[in-house]
Every structure is written in C-alpha cells, then in structure tokens.
C-alpha cells in the first residue's frame, strides 16, 4: 500500500513537473548589431581562411556573363556600429554575423574609435579599411583582415598591418576614395574644407602608415567657396512615360510651363537661391565615376562643390553647382536613353535631398568634355498647386539616396548603345527592377524606388499589344515607381454627399440635387465650353464610377501629385488653426480691437479691408471678411452688478454674439483683428435688462464690458464654404505684412490657392473643383445653417515602397549580389538586403 502510494506520488509529482515545464522555452538571442550606421563590402576567398590572405578584390565577387563567381568567393558586409565604436563583419553567403572574439560572451566586433561616421574599403587592394572616427577627430586605417574572426583571417597573422590614424582639429563627416584609389577624400564640415589624403601603398617590409604620419603632412586642405554661380533653366523635353491604358500618359500634366501659343517653355531655376548660413559646410561625398568628378553636398549653401579628380598631382576645384537650396546628399546616374524605348544612352541626371524640406530634387546633369565643368538644371516634376514644381515629395522626408544600376544595364562605351534591351513580361513586372533606378530611404524607415530607366517597361506598358485593361500601370521618369494601379485611375471613391443639420447624410444625385428639403445642389460639369472641367489644371473627371456621366467633382488625376484624402466644404465653417484661448476685446478710438495669440494671417484669415485694394481679377477681391466666433460663455458677474442681467441676456445664448452683432472682421493682422458689425439696427435690440445708467448703450462697448476677461474663440468664413482637405488643409495665399503685420494677399502666389467656395461660383483650388449652389427658390444655406459637402479622392496608385526598419542611415547597392542594402540605425533590422527581382526584403541581420 505504502509502495503504491509512493509510486502514485512519484507519478503525480512527475506529471506536475512536466506540466510546469514549458515545452517552448523562450530563447533569447542577444542582439549582434547596435546602432548600425554605414556599410561597405569586401570579397573574401574562403579557401584561404586559414592560410594566406583571404582578401581578394571586390570584383572577384561580381559575376559576368562569361565568368560566374566561384562559391569560394564570399561577399561580406562591413557595418559600422556607431555607439559601440566598432565595425561588424557579416558573411552574406552564409547569412551570419561574425563574432570576432568568440571567447568573449556576446558579439564582439573590432573597435574603430568613437562614433564611426563613414567607412570605405578600396575595391582593388582591400588591405586597409578607412573609418572616420568622428568622436576622436581622426581617420583610422585598420587592417581589413582584423574585422574577420581569427579563424578566417588567413595565415601569418603577424603580417597583418597595424592600425594607423591621421588626426584633425575637427570631426570628419564623410570619406570617399578616388577612382584609382590612390587618394582618400574627407569632409571637415566644421572647417568648411575637404582634405585630400594621398595613400601610400602597403609594403609589408616597410610597414609604413598609409597616411605617412599622424599629422597629415602630405595632405592638401581644399577650401570651398561660398560664391554662388548663376543657375540654369531646364530645357523642355518630351515626357518619359509609358502606361496602360496607352492613353494614360496623355492625361498627365506636363510640369514644364506652357508657352502662349502652346508647347513648352524652359523651366526657370529658383531665384534667389536659399542659404542657411554664409560659409560652406560640406557634408556627404559622391563620386561621379564616369567623369571622375567628386561632388560635395553643402548643407548650408545652395551648392554642390565639384573636384576634378582626373588631373595629375591632385584634385582641381571646379565651379560649384547652384542647386537653389542647401542639399544633404547628391547622387548621379549613368547615361540612360531619353525615351522609354530608346537605345542610345545620352541623358544623365543628378538627384539631391533638399536640406530644408527634405524633398527630392531631380536635375539634368552633364559634363563638358573639354572643360570638365559639370552643369545642372533642376527639372519640374510636380504639378500640385500648393507645392513647388521642382520637388518630388515622398510624404516623409528623404534621408539617403542611392542609384541602382542592375547588371542588365550595359552600355557600349563607344557607341553609347544600350546592350541587351530584352525585357520581362512577367506578372509581377512592376516589382522587377532591371535597368537604372533611384532608391530613397525616408524618415519613416521605408525605401522608395524612383523610375529612371526601366528596361522592362516597353514589354508591359505603352502598347495595345501588351496592355491588359484589368492590369493598368504606368512608368514615368523621376516619379515613384507604381507597383499597383487601380482600374480607372484616380477618382472619387464614394458618391459626393451633403451632411445636413443633425448629421444626416444625403447622397448627391447625378443631376446634382438631393432628396433633402430644401435641397442643396452641386452643378454638374458638362462638356459644353462654359461648364467643363477646368482644363488647364484639371485632367479628367473624378466621377465615382469613372464613366462618362457628368462629373460632380473634377480633379487632378496625376497619380504622383494626388494624395488620397477626404474633402469637406463646410458652410461658414471654421478656418483650421484659428481656435484660440487668449482673445481680449478693447477699444482703440473708434476701432474695436480683438487681441489674440493665433497668427491670423498665417492661417488665412481675411478682413474686408485686407482685400479692398486688390484688382478685380484676384479671387479674394470683394470678400467682406471672415467671422469671429466667441466660444466662451459670458463671464459671471458678482451679484448686484448691473451688467450681470444685461450681459446674460444679450450674450448668454448659444453663439448669441454672432447672431446679434455679426462680428465681421474688418481688418486682420497677424496678432489682432479689427471688428466691425455690418448690421446697423443692432442698437435697437438691447433688452430692458440693459436699461441701467451704467450699462453701455453701444453694443460694442457692451461687448467689451461684458467680456472683460480673456475669451476663447475661432474664426469662420463668411457667406461661403470653408474648404479643406484632410491632408492638404485650408488653401490660402495670405501672408503677414512686413511693416505692421497686416494680412496681405500674396498676388504672386498661385491664385488657385483658395479655401473659400461661394454659392453658385466655380470653386477651383488646383486639386479639386466643384460648384455648389443654393436650393432652388430658397435662401439656403444661410447664416446659422449646418451644411457640409463631402467627397473622398482615392484609388491613387500604390508605389513600390518597402519597409526596411525604423530609421535608415545608409543605402548601398552591391552589384556583386544585385542587392540593395539598407542600414537601420534605429534598431530593428540593422542591415537589410533587398533583391531586385522581385524588389523585396530578402534578408536582415540584427
């Protein structure tokens, strides 16, 4: 019995123990990479991991049609670890992060100083890896073999070079090697100079520093200019576009300005250019390998400095390029055909990141073969009325650029003929990248692909032979590559509707009327000349079905300029951003002044006087002024105060102030308003509660007396709809005057930037247009009516955009494995690798 009990007990305990054990224990894998910054690549011969020198020229890992890469040539990535001051090595064949000291717990990499800001490895002789040591004001030359684990460093470890450095007085921001790899160039942003460092080839017998000495005695300090040359206008050219349906490209707007008799005009540069300082601040370096030019982005001046690296004895400073704004980084493309079906590579482009708004700049780029002076002209790529035409806006800001040139794109040096133009027609062709593309890492951790020359485009787009009506698509140079497009293109994704008092929604019928009573109306566009979609800016109709019925709303259909958003037109609605809490009434002579903290001009507020002197052709001319709406309750007053009953009656009701005195803004300033009442009979409506000797008889004096403390408020449009997009906001062209802050209409700005829609008149803001009208035979809507017209613009194409992490610091295309590598400094993925066919994240290292 006892034995049985013991046995049972043992069984029970065993079961309990087993139940208590988790069959899926949590395995914690320590993170290997930490704050990865920049990446470089080396090629390693795995047969020499234990003997000899395993490093081989990078080209050994690059396959050609004649010579595939043997398995023993292994591509490795070297990734800087910014906070740890190390460089990690990653075997890209076995997909493993290499621990350089396995006897130390966790991943250990080779130290390279403090805050490595750049890394370069010579392609031909990778003996040394050069790392700029930002935190110690130096550049280190560290033997590349040291970044490999000991068991991969080869034989004769004693022959591995020592670590050498060269010191400066300020931090080094970026590094790059000359095409022949005999010179190293470094930017000293603080000093506004570029340093040219001659490199001494490694001689194992001499074992001399590649820098010569630590003080950089052989270096040349190249001071950069702050003189800004004249900028160039971009010459007109045919649009580089192919689409399905074929006519899709014809619907797109030409961003080049049109001439008075049709055709294109040159696109002028920004004038004057914008600077954020007076001295140069060189940042990132880019090598134009085709022309042997070094391009230096300046984050303070609107310049790209240029060094000619082809001259003997050192670089020659050429005239800088005027970009119009400071730039964070520039890259250049190889020569590509000017048309999608062309085969002659003639056109080159320069892309840059605008240092102020982080948009992408596209520019024509060419180099004079005689003088070697490059030339740029910024190209218009945008047709939104509320954005500059010469910028490609991604949404989030751009951080890093990299040109992708896949191995398929081969150009004959002599004839400039593009070789092997055969193309792919597979289903996922929009995700297949063969040719030349721009990749952009953005602030939200994503990688955007931009079309430059898609070798596959003619096989899937632009011809009735290849187009499938159920599979639309479009390729256009300098635009985000379209992954998926909707049939019918951009359109309203729901039938336009009115939201009337009480919140009920009524659909607008095809004839523009509704079932509501009274019925607000939309005047449909027709094909007649006097009521058609505004053709100069708008293309097509945003009819919900995309069919030929009369459109209630017209709008921009350029897939790269339209953002999906909802639009609301609210009768006498609030102007966004005008809600405030520190308004105060006072009197200045005959003026009723309302001081407040909201920057009224910047929000688009207008008074009647602000537009009084405008020419009749200006859209704002004749506007009587916006409405000031007080949202505070009238302050309570002490018992016995004769003002109390009067204030409560006059101003105590809901929005009573508006209803009684109709406080129209006579003149708006950036920090205050002058109020005027258009009603002349208000003095007769004061109730008997105000019949006290001490109570003001003038209504505005009464207002000031009753509201003798700060009030909350907002501003509404008057006798018009306040129109706003959920992304675009309230369009306007009101700016504060420089002298007295008086709100002024900037007549040089696009006249389509309007946020007020008037009954019976065409509303056209450059993005959408419609005409709202009163109900037939009824004064509706009028003051106090609650009415909103709404519609949604959608079905915009989905771009070829992929998430690569949270905060990308670098993009590098590796021709050896045809992979675009992204470096995520913000945690997450560390190093990610994107394949080109299809474009997707195929590997990541953490």
């Amino acid at each position: 019995m006892t034995r049985a009990l013991v046995a049972v007990g043992v069984v029970v305990l065993t079961l309990l123990t087993l139940v208590g054990c988790d069959q899926d224990p949590i395995i914690i894998t320590p993170r290997a990479l930490d704050h990865s910054g920049r990446v470089e690549f080396i090629c390693v011969d795995s047969t020499r991991y234990q003997t000899g020198n395993p490093l081989v020229p990078y080209e050994s890992c690059v396959a050609t049609p004649e010579f595939p890469v043997p398995d023993n040539f292994v591509l490795h990535a070297l990734v800087t670890q910014e906070t740890r001051g190390e460089v990690a090595a990653i075997d890209l064949q076995q997909n493993i992060v290499l621990d350089s000291q396995r006897v130390v717990p966790g991943f250990t990499f080779e130290p390279v100083g403090e805050i490595p800001s750049a890394i370069v490895v010579p392609k031909v002789d990778p003996t040394f890896t050069f790392v700029s040591n930002f935190g110690q004001l130096s550049i280190w030359a560290r033997a590349t073999r040291r970044f490999l684990p000991e068991e991969r460093r080869g034989g004769d470890l004693g022959s591995i070079p020592d670590t050498y450095q060269v010191r400066f007085d300020s931090p080094v921001s970026d590094l790059i090697l000359s095409p022949d790899e005999t010179m190293l160039y470094a930017t000293l942003a603080e000093d506004g100079v570029v340093v040219e460092i001659p490199l001494i080839p490694w001689d194992p017998d001499v074992r001399e520093s590649p820098f010569g000495d630590e003080m950089c005695s052989a270096c040349t300090w190249i001071s950069l200019t702050n003189v800004i040359p004249a900028a160039n206008a971009a010459e007109p050219r045919a649009d580089h576009c192919l689409s399905c349906p074929v006519e899709g490209c014809d619907e797109l707007i030409d961003p080049f300005p049109a001439g008075p008799f049709g055709g294109q005009l040159p696109f002028p540069p920004r004038d004057p250019p914008t600077s954020v300082g007076t001295t140069p601040r060189p940042l990132r370096l880019t090598l134009d390998e085709e022309s042997e030019l070094l391009l230096i982005a300046d984050e303070r001046l609107p310049l790209v400095h240029v060094l000619d690296l082809s001259t003997a004895g050192g670089a020659t400073l050429l005239e800088p390029l005027n970009m119009g704004v400071p730039v964070q980084q520039v890259v250049v493309t190889p020569a590509v055909p000017s048309t999608p079906t062309g085969t002659l590579a003639t056109d080159r482009f320069l892309y840059g990141i605008d240092g102020i708004d982080r948009s992408v700049i596209a520019a024509d780029y060419d180099v004079d073969v005689t003088t070697r002076q490059p030339r740029v002209a910024v190209i218009p790529v945008n047709v939104r009325a509320d954005q500059p035409a010469d910028r490609l806006f991604l949404g989030p800001g751009a951080r890093v650029l990299e040109v992708v040139r896949t191995s398929h794109y081969i150009v004959d040096d002599g004839s400039l003929e593009v070789q092997n133009p055969a193309c792919s027609t597979r289903e996922v062709a929009s995700q297949t990248l063969r040719g030349v593309f721009l990749s952009v890492a953005s602030n939200n951790g994503r990688v955007y692909m931009i079309d430059v020359f898609d070798m596959d485009a003619p096989c899937r787009l632009g011809s009735v032979d290849v187009c499938d009506e159920d599979n639309p698509g479009v390729v256009r140079r300098h635009r985000i590559r379209v992954d998926t497009a909707s049939v019918g293109g951009v359109k309203t994704t729901a039938t336009p509707a009115f939201i009337i008092s009480g919140g009920s929604t009524v659909i607008v019928e095809d004839d523009g009327t509704t079932a509501a009573e009274p019925s607000p109306r939309v005047i449909p566009f027709e094909s007649t000349a006097d009521n058609e979609c505004p053709g100069t800016v708008f293309q097509g109709k945003l009819a919900p079905s995309g069919d030929d019925t009369a459109a209630l709303v017209c709008g921009l259909r350029d897939p790269w300029s339209v953002v999906p958003e909802s639009w609301l037109a609210t009768w006498e609605g609030e102007i966004p951003g005008t809600v405030g809490g520190r308004g105060r009434f006072s009197r200045d002579g005959t003026d009723i002044v309302f001081d407040a903290e909201v920057p009224f001009c910047s929000r688009g507020v207008l008074g009647g006087n602000n537009v009084a002197s405008l020419g009749a052709s200006e859209p704002e001319a004749g506007y009587p002024g916006d409405l000031l709406v007080i949202t505070s309750e009238v302050p309570e007053r002490a018992a016995g105060d004769p003002l109390g009953p009067c204030c409560a009656v006059v101003f105590g009701g809901e929005e009573a102030l508006v209803q009684l005195i109709d406080p129209t803004i006579e003149h708006a300033f950036q920090d205050h308003l002058i109020i005027r009442s258009p009603r002349v009979d208000v003095g007769t409506v004061l109730p008997f509660e105000c019949d006290e000797p001490t109570v003001p008889t003038d209504l505005f004096d009464l207002l000031i007396a009753c509201y003798d403390e700060l009030v909350t408020y907002k501003v509404h449009t008057r006798s018009s709809y306040s129109v706003g997009g959920s992304v675009t906001g309230f369009p306007h062209r009101v700016v504060p005057g420089e002298i007295d802050g008086s709100c002024t209409v900037d007549t040089m700005a696009d006249p389509l930037s309007q946020g007020r829609a008037f009954n019976g008149a065409l509303y056209d803001n450059g993005l959408v247009s419609f005409t709202l009208a009163s109900a037939v035979g009824v004064n509706y809507p009028s003051r106090g009516d609650d009415l909103v017209f709404s519609f949604v613009v959608g079905d915009t194409p989905i771009g070829l955009i992929r998430t690569a992490g949270t905060l990308l610091e670098d993009l590098q295309y590796s021709p050896a494995d045809e992979t675009l590598y992204s470096v995520d400094i913000g945690g997450g993925r560390g190093l990610g690798g994107f394949t080109m066919d299809p474009f997707e994240l195929a590997q990541s290292f953490e």
Binding site: T83, L137, P396, N443, N444, G580, R582, L807, G827
Partner: protein, 489 residues
C-alpha cells in the same frame, strides 16, 4: 461523507482526521498570532538617513548671480522609489564646495584623466547644504526663474509641493535640519483651497514654470502647468514676489484643471514654448488613445481676477513622416541662426531626437525635418549652448539621457549629428550643465548617485584644441557612493 475527512483509526488510538484538524488549527492560530504581532499600524517607517541619495530623479541648478558667475547650488529630488523610507527628499548641494574638492583632488592626482579610470567618490554629506523631506515618487521638479522656489509634482501625495530656497537653504514650513515639508507647502490637494473647488487629478507628471508677467499680469510671481498621466492638465498661479530674506508670503493656488486634453493620455512631461503654449509629450503607448500626437495646452490669464485664469486645449500636434512616434518623452525649442524655429522632440519609437521645423508645420501637423538616432531608453533632454570655434561662439547642443543604454548623447541638432557620447553612467535620468565650471551633473536612478562629468574634452574639441584626443566627456566623481539596484539593471 462528502465534505468531511474520513475517520481512520491511527496508530496512537485517535483519528487521523482529528489529528489533522488539530494541527491545522494550531498552525492557523500560530500564523494569526505571528501576523498580528508582525503588524504595527502605528509604525511610521524609517526616516531617510540625512545626506543619503535614494533613487534621485529630478535635478535643477540655481541660476548664477550674473553672466560670468558660476551657479551656486544643485537641487536634487530623491524619489524613494523602493519605498525603503517613509519619505522622499530634496537636497541642495554646494557646487562651490564640490568644485573645491575636485580641484584639490585634481591637484593630488586623484581625479581620473580618462573614461577608463574610476571616479572619485565625494560623500554627499561633504557638499550637502540643506535637505527636506517630501512625499515619495517625485515625478518632476522645476525652479522659478528668480531661483527662489522649487515646485515638485509628487505622485504619492498627488500634489504640487513647493519649497522656498534662499542661498541654498531649503525651507517648507517646518524648522530643523532635515524636516518634513509642512502640509501648507503641498497645495493643490485640497478642494477648498481654490475658488473653483477644484481637485487636482491623480498621477501628476510633468511641470513647467513661467513668469506670470508673461501672461500679462502685473505680479512678479510664477505660474505652473502640471501634466497628469490620465490626460489632464492643471494650472497653478503663484502671484507673490520673493520676499527679502527668502520665502514668499503666499502659496501657489490651483486655479484650473483641464479634464480631458482630447488626444492621447500618458502625458509624461511639460515644456512651455515661446508663445506660452505648454507642450506635453505622451508615453502611454498601450492606451488605445495613444497615437503620434503631442498634447498642447494654453494658459489664459484673467488680469482682473487671476484666480479665474484658465487652461485651454490648444489642439494636438501630430508627428508625421516617421515610423511611429507613439512614445515621446521630452521637448525643447530653439531658433536657428537663419531664423528657422525648431522643436526638438525626444522619442522612444524610434529612439531618436526628432527635429521639427515649426515654420513648415501646420497647426495640427508637425513637419519632421530630420531624426538623429540616440541610445536606448531616451528619457530627458537639455538644451545647452557651448562655446565653439576659435571665437567661442555659442553653439546649440542637445544633451540626452539614455536610461537603458546608460549614457548621455550630445547631439548637434542643427547638423543632425551625434557629436559625442558620455558613457558608463549607470542609470542617467536628468542632468544639469554647469557651463562656467565645465561640468555636467547627472542624476543616476540606478546607482543613487549624482555623477559629475567633465565636459573639458568636448569643449576642447569644439574649440579646436583637443589635439586628437577623444571628445567624450567622462565622469570624474560621484556625489554619494553608488548603490546599484539589481531589480533595475
């Protein structure tokens, strides 16, 4: 039978059930007695030992008497996070005395010369000027512009505690060397104390202080905006001017509570911009109301009746164009030399300093110009101007404490570059920079010390005189002996 222990005759003649029952009863009785004896409802707990740092969280530095003078005192709030004692505390440390000790140690070769050498331990009592007890769980501490009054948000009391300061001596109602602050110095927790019968919401977090004159009032006092983790904001008006000889005649008055900021909850800190709007970074990413918003609150002063001044919701500001932005911790504002107005927002998702160009932002959407990656667990930031270049022109830096990666990042925000990193700080949370002496004082929440970090390497780098040495500021001393806490490692 069911429900009862079966009667089985045992070897000693009684029943097993009776034996078990008796044992249970005896055990239960013993446990009860022991429990009752162990409880002492009148036990006030242990007083914190004078001079001892216990989870220091917030710090402030007294303003220098003039532009060329050095600050006199460092104020540190101990949160008593582990509730080891019956109170938190606020201490003031004599910075001149500390500097003297460091100079002596340097002359004696006892100070470390680089980051690899151990720091000098300065006993806290040696530089302690004054100390008072407050409630536990301090969330934030700010100092009036005049430097005469400290305001603290204390979560255990759910109040605004205030302490008068006079030449480094702290006083809050009770005399004595290490006295408790009197009840009257904990305002805002009594509904009858204010004309609107307001009750301060729970979980006070951030604080920001401004001069009431900036609101248009004729007084010389302060106003304090307090954020709460539940999505509320409170306003205190402290109208009185500093009295001669220290102290003020009045207490701060709770004048308004904004119950719902209308956006996300989890407000963690509060900072006032130049226009007087209080910005409140938000951290409660678990909340279904969390999003990439920052709350904004305006202060409206009633000139005739300041006690009727109020807060208003100035709208939420959305961070767009970044990966998430749902967990922000701190914010600062600055204007660049070209006139561009920036906000610098410290984010944990991603872990970065976010540069917002206010001139390109709209009322509701913030324009993110750039992000600078920082260490893990970024907690607080400090705007600091350091001399740079041969002429020593002041240059803006943002110092960022990174609690999880145990370092302080020094970021040059206008060039989007981490300039250097001060490492080996166990649990940095808040910091002050003593530009006159070239030191940084960092509260270490994990080790319960204040680190003294030498900024000389950084300043030499900026001045071009570093001669190739590291720019990394390194700790040279600690106020107090480090007491690492395993649970927080």
């Amino acid at each position: 039978m069911s429900g009862r222990i079966p009667s089985i005759v045992g070897p000693l003649g009684g029943t097993v059930a009776a034996t078990i029952a008796g044992l249970c009863l005896a055990t239960l009785s013993g446990l009860c007695l022991a429990t009752v004896a162990g409880c002492s409802l009148n036990n006030p707990g242990n007083d914190p030992p004078p001079g001892e740092l216990n989870f220091p969280l917030a710090t402030q530095m007294s303003p220098p008497a003039n532009a060329s003078a050095a600050p006199g005192y460092l104020y540190v709030a101990n949160s008593d996070f582990d509730l080891r004692f019956n109170a938190g505390s606020v201490s003031s440390y004599d910075l001149a005395a500390l500097a003297g000790k460091l100079d002596d140690a340097r002359a004696a070769g006892e100070l470390p010369t680089d980051a690899s050498e151990p720091p000098l331990v300065v006993p806290a009592a040696d530089v302690l000027r004054s100390q008072v007890k407050i409630g536990s769980y301090t969330s934030a501490m700010v100092l009036s512009e005049a430097g005469d009054r400290l305001y603290l948000s204390v979560r255990s009391d759910a109040n605004l505690t205030y302490i008068d300061v006079n030449d480094g001596v702290l006083s809050c109602g009770n005399g004595g060397a290490f006295a408790w602050c009197a009840d009257s110095f904990r305002s805002g927790d009594e509904a009858t104390a204010n004309p609107r019968r307001l009750e301060i919401p729970k979980n006070p977090t951030g604080l920001a202080v401004g001069r009431v004159s900036a609101l248009g009032l004729a007084d010389e006092g302060d106003y304090v905006v307090m954020s709460h983790a539940g999505g509320q904001a409170s306003l205190f008006i402290d109208r009185s001017a500093p009295a001669t000889g220290g102290g003020r005649p009045t207490a701060p008055l709770l004048v308004d509570v904004l119950d719902d900021l209308g956006g996300p909850i989890g407000q963690i800190s509060t900072r006032i911009d130049e226009s007087g709007i209080a910005w409140m970074p938000t951290t409660d990413a678990r909340s279904d109301r969390a999003d990439n918003f920052l709350s904004r609150v305006g202060v409206a002063a009633d000139l005739n009746r300041p006690e009727l001044s109020y807060l208003y919701n100035a709208g939420t500001a959305r961070l767009e164009g970044i990966s998430t932005g749902e967990d922000t911790r701190d914010i600062a504002f600055a204007t660049a030399s070209d006139g561009t107005n920036f906000a610098f927002i410290l984010s944990r998702t991603p872990e970065a300093l976010i540069l917002v160009d206010m001139d390109q932002s709209t009322p509701s959407r913030l324009f993110v110009r750039d992000l600078v990656s920082v260490g893990y667990g970024p907690s607080r930031l400090k705007k600091v101007y350091l001399p740079a270049g041969p002429a020593g022109e002041p240059r803006l830096f943002i110092f960022i404490t990174c609690f999880d990666s145990r370092d302080v990042f020094v970021v040059d925000p206008l060039s989007s570059q981490t300039f250097t990193i001060s490492r080996t700080l166990s649990g940095p949370f808040e910091l002050e920079v003593d530009e006159a002496r070239g030191y940084m004082y960092v509260t270490d929440f994990r080790a319960s010390v204040i680190w003294v970090v030498d900024l000389a390497p950084l300043i030499e780098c900026l001045g071009g005189t570093s001669e190739g040495r590291s720019c990394e500021p390194f700790r040279i001393a600690s106020i107090g002996t480090p007491q690492p806490v395993r649970d927080l490692l």
